[in-house]
Subunit: 317 residues, 2 copies
């Protein structure tokens, strides 16, 4: 493994051949924006490129998809963007584990599994790093690339709300907006942060109604069990982003959202409001992420999971 | 009335005497940030200054208040910031109507009631205009002034989410963040956009449950009547910002929130998602505001108000 800088990554991308670009399972705006923008950049100069993901790209990101895809090809380079751990390739790990030649990521928890790694933990989004890489490459941005980068930056910062937002985040965004004044950023934001299906609104209300308050109101737990989802007609795809609900009530420092992926297997998301390092908590359970937003997978009964999480959070508070 | 530019406004503020600074009733982050920052700027150079508002400053903005206030004084200049219409002085209109010497505002609907008017309709917030004025004055910003300006810009753009956000909005924000890296912008955002009292969460759930869908799901109405508020233990101060709830469901173009101020007197807020000019709709009812966010006051029964609003919205759709 070799840690590289923006210029070195730019050089690799300028000279590499046809590429497969891996993004993480349960794809979010940042890995989708990163993957699709990189695909577009490589294709601009005649390389074939394809984005691979274990899960389908959610419909609300389809405005970022290219008009055409390259026909089947054998890759000359395997690249991963925004993927901290090969486990997050999901079903693609078996095929591509150990084979990633270049990884570009902003998760401090990155396991450095790739041959060449451009890791900037202080970047708000992988798309922010890629913006710098594309500038170093002298790429001519297109409206599609700009929309990809904006979407990644906006979604990973909660629309410039979270502590990962830096002056650079705002500067890059201003530059994108200046170069592409016709993109309807407000509509992207509306689709990303405001619009909800009626089913999703229903789900939120259910979650809020049943939200548990623990540790003197400083920790909340929201249980998105299969039973709750079924009872409210909530689809898995309507659950994305629910992780922020638990931080809404006054006085809460840690908000936990527990989604049941299959019976007894839970995807746990932790969010901290101010000072708790939830990445460290998730690490105890084999997960990771950012200091104020992290996740892990847990197995067991609701009671077991609740008590293990609460004792870890209590220690951290 | 005389329209002036940033340089001229800066000159007036450099040379004026002790000032009363009027902000609008039901004060929001932008008028509070504008008023308190201007107070601080004037006091830096030995002028006395006081912010006057018909309503109390909500507690969640108290972090912006100065440590001390000037003792009683007679003003040499009356300034209004972020106030489009003297009616919005509320109970202070009687005393200060017709007496405003300088108005700084970003509402295109501004009635130009002041002697000197600095009006920039394309600015996302009055605080954005003031940032330029302070730069023109050569003011040394303080952390309190920066927090005021950030709060005004962030709240009026929905944290850089709305269509009023421009490249300049992001640039100014980056400059503020660079100059004052120690301000916890993320905590300001959390307090402004995320944290809710349990009563407020309760209120939201009630409003969402009872939200009316009209015009084929393209228009929603939320009724915050005195009865609903009483039944849910919701205080007037917990209702601020509820206006955005109505745009959440997929497919909605116009979200209407109707708050009953006193029996039979309603404060109506309209928000548009994409293309409807709600400022024009509100003008029909004696109100005004921005193109995608406007308001008016109406009297009558719920049925009357609903039918008048819906026929105006139907025409606009």
């Amino acid at each position: 493994m070799n840690r590289i800088n923006v210029a070195a990554a730019a050089e690799i991308l300028e000279t590499c051949g046809d590429a497969y670009i891996l993004i993480h399972r349960a794809p979010d705006g940042d890995c989708i924006g990163a993957g699709l923008s990189l695909q577009a950049v490589l294709r601009q100069t005649g390389r074939k490129a394809k984005v691979l993901c274990a899960d389908p790209i959610p419909e609300r990101f389809h405005y970022l998809l290219p008009e055409t895809e390259d026909e089947d090809f054998a890759p000359e380079i395997i690249i991963a963007v925004d993927v901290a751990d090969e486990k997050l390739f999901g079903t693609l790990e078996e095929t591509y584990g150990g084979k990633v030649q270049l990884c570009i990521d902003h998760h401090i928890s990155n396991l450095l599994y790739a041959e060449q790694v451009l890791l900037e933990g202080e970047a708000a989004a992988t798309c922010e790093i890629l913006y710098k890489v594309y500038r170093a490459m002298g790429v001519t941005l297109t409206s599609q690339i700009a929309a990809c980068l904006y979407t990644g930056i906006a979604t990973d910062t909660g629309c410039f709300k979270f502590s990962n937002t830096t002056p650079e985040t705002h500067i890059f965004t201003a530059e994108l907006m200046r170069e592409f004044p016709d993109i309807r950023y407000d509509l992207i934001n509306r689709d990303m942060f405001t619009v909800k299906s009626r089913a999703r609104l229903q789900a939120e209300m259910t979650m809020l109604r049943n939200m548990e308050y623990h540790l003197n109101g400083r920790c909340t737990i929201i249980w998105a069990t299969l039973a709750v989802c079924r009872a409210n007609g909530v689809d898995e795809k309507d659950m994305e982003g629910l992780t922020s609900l638990g931080l809404q009530p006054e006085g809460v420092e840690v908000g936990i959202t527990v989604r049941e992926r299959e019976p007894g297997v839970y995807k746990v998301s932790l969010r901290a409001a101010d000072y708790v390092d939830v990445s460290a908590i998730c690490k105890q359970f084999g997960g990771g992420g950012h200091i104020r937003a992290a996740g892990c997978q847990m197995k067991g009964t609701q009671e077991e999971i609740r008590s293990r999480l609460l004792s870890a959070v209590e220690q951290a508070l």
